[in-house]
């Protein structure tokens, strides 16, 4: 297992649309393990393959306090319903920024598990929000896209500045 490097906004590679996984093979399973390890180490509650520059439709999530309820979704397909809820979101690709985003309270996910078997999964609340957030990554979309352009450009400048400082010798 390995901890992978997470791309940070405004890296253009985060805008890539991810391709469906054709076969759930050992390579995919290794990637799943690495995604979990990277997410737990960060620490984050969800991670999409797009964020580690692998543009395949794979996301991993664990929102539990004890870090013992891992969920992996391959080729997730979302059906959104329920009322709208507003929650404060952050993103491992947008470090240090937390903003309120409105999303649906309920999702039904159809996906493949790590054995390539299809399954359905229903989620509400924070778990539903997190699934929507990660699935956005697969479309090249980030949570900052839901904010005003003023806020977004401020965040962009802040992170660009941080990246310049990190790049200094």
């Amino acid at each position: 297992m390995a901890i992978l490097e997470i791309l940070e906004y405004p890296d253009p590679r985060l805008r890539t649309k991810a391709q469906p996984v054709e076969a759930v093979d050992n390579l995919v399973r290794t990637l799943l393990d690495d995604l979990f390890e990277t997410m737990y180490a960060a620490p984050g509650i969800g991670l999409a393959a797009s964020q580690v520059d692998v543009h395949k439709r794979i996301i991993v999530i664990d929102i539990s306090e004890n870090r013992d309820e891992p969920h992996a979704f391959i080729n997730p397909d979302l059906e959104i319903s329920g009322k709208e809820i507003e929650a404060e979101e952050g993103c491992l690709s947008v470090p240090g920024v937390y903003e309120s985003v409105t999303r649906a309270d309920h999702v039904l996910v159809k996906a493949l598990d790590r054995d390539g078997q299809s399954f359905e999964f229903e989620a509400t609340g924070m778990l539903a929000v997190c699934i929507q957030h990660e699935c956005d990554h697969l479309e090249g979309k980030l949570f900052v896209d839901y904010l005003s352009s003023l806020k977004r450009s401020r965040i962009r400048r802040k992170l660009e500045k941080e990246h310049r400082i990190q790049a200094l010798p």
Partner: protein, 431 residues
């Protein structure tokens, strides 16, 4: 995605002392104390908390002997730190100077730098002492009860209780064969050996659920090897109407569903939070054919009047059979609790007996070692109910027969096949 929790690394000893403080002063179980912590808990601090509780009695005896005056009530976190420090010093492979220095340093983390001298002095004295062997590290009431119930085996039980339990798995046979799953484990570099039943696997070394192959997708559950005997004791048919009366978190119910798909099962539990956990596990394992009911098993308000063929009561109990996994039980529970549990257990059996059809079977089980919660509860019930219940004979490949059932002990010779302490009794309602 990320949440706003600050990810500052907490010193392991500070974390262990705070967690232990929650258990010994506030009275939480270790599970509760761990669940309340927002920081990730390091394996080292986890080991220090469990170890400190495992050897709590001999450690606190020693500290009390070298302290000139007791630690004040408001400084009980320091008392916890001293226990953690002594445990490291005497029972872990940490060189004494490191154990002492790091523990002294942890006073800063607790915001009590003035206590450094005290902690240093106590630990230096204890570094020279030999570990006393007199208490078996159990409270007196527990020693008395176990010696009364198991005069020949008591000492073995005390020693077994102070060992770590192996991590046992139950393969979801509805999804994968045990052999295929064992191969998957081997591919992932995890060594496992077979247990008592085909679906039981025992890991060479514990791993976290993230690293457990197929855990998230429901191929496997974590369950003690002893708890896995339930389907052996009540063979079910596809049409059986089963009530699991204290169902959450659902391990035994899911096992029955995996072994006997198609049964008509009802999961009853009094706690909605615990039912939510059951639901989460059910989704993970892909079990969606049972009914969930929130209700109190000591009354019949939830019951619609259709009798059950089989009633499973995995009764709330002292947990004295699971001390290897929950050493906090030795510190938190008292003799009075056993009495209270026994009263509740008898009330449950009496009440649920009424929901059983004539000819049906009731399986009563606890994870307790004490006869007071086991044979004596069954005996009281038999006395109260006249001739109607017939005690069925049980036999398992491990453990021993009791007057009315079967007792598993944590003392098996083969460390890979040990189980927690469990009690089972099967009662048939004669027509």
């Amino acid at each position: 995605m990320k949440t706003k929790a600050p990810a500052v690394k907490v010193d392991d000893r500070v974390q262990a002392a705070r967690l232990l403080h929650q258990v010994i002063t506030v009275g939480c179980t270790t599970d509760q104390a761990f669940a309340r912590t927002t920081d990730p808990i390091s394996p080292l601090s986890r080991e220090m908390v469990y170890g400190s509780l495992r050897f709590f009695f001999s450690i606190t005896d020693q500290i009390s002997a070298v302290l000139h005056k007791p630690i004040e009530h408001k400084d009980q976190d320091l008392w916890a730190l001293l226990i953690v420090g002594t445990y490291q010093l005497q029972r872990m492979r940490i060189p004494p100077h490191a154990a002492i220095n790091e523990t002294v340093g942890a006073c800063e983390g607790l915001g009590k730098p003035w206590a450094k001298g005290l902690v240093n002095a106590v630990l230096r004295k204890l570094a020279l002492e030999k570990i006393p062997e007199r208490t078996f590290d159990h409270p007196q009431w527990m020693l008395d009860l176990i010696m009364a119930d198991y005069p020949e085996q008591a000492v073995d039980i005390f020693h077994a209780n102070n060992r770590q339990a192996p991590m046992a798995l139950r393969v979801n046979r509805a999804r994968i064969s045990p052999e295929a799953y064992r191969n998957k484990l081997a591919e992932a570099g995890i060594q496992a050996s077979p247990g008592w039943l085909p679906e039981t696997l025992v890991l060479e070394a514990p791993v976290s659920t993230e690293k457990l192959v197929g855990f998230a997708s429901g191929l496997v559950s974590i369950q003690d090897a002893g708890a896995q005997f339930v389907p052996e004791l009540i063979p079910l048919e596809s049409t059986t109407r089963l009530l699991d009366a204290c169902a959450a978190p659902g391990g035994k119910l899911f096992h029955l569903l995996e072994r006997y798909p198609g049964i008509d099962a009802t999961a009853l539990d009094v706690s909605t939070t615990r039912l939510k956990q059951l639901d989460l596990q059910a989704r993970r394992l892909g079990h969606d054919t049972f009914t969930t009911l929130q209700g109190d098993a000591s009354n019949l308000e939830w019951w619609e009047g259709d009798a059950f063929d089989v009633v499973l009561i995995d009764a709330p109990c002292s947990g004295s059979g699971t001390i290897r996994r929950h050493p906090d039980i030795k510190v938190l529970r008292g003799a009075k609790d056993v009495k209270k549990y026994a009263e509740l257990q008898l009330a449950l059996v009496e009440n649920l007996w009424r929901t059983l059809r004539p000819g049906g079977t009731l399986l009563y089980c606890t994870c307790s070692l004490f006869a007071e919660e086991n044979d004596k509860v069954v005996n009281s019930f038999l006395q109260l109910s006249g001739g109607a219940p017939q005690v069925l004979e049980i036999s398992l490949p491990v453990g021993q027969a009791t007057q009315f059932g079967w007792q598993l002990l944590p003392t098996d010779d083969d460390p890979k096949k040990t189980t927690d302490g469990f009690y089972f009794s099967c009662l048939k309602k004669t027509v």
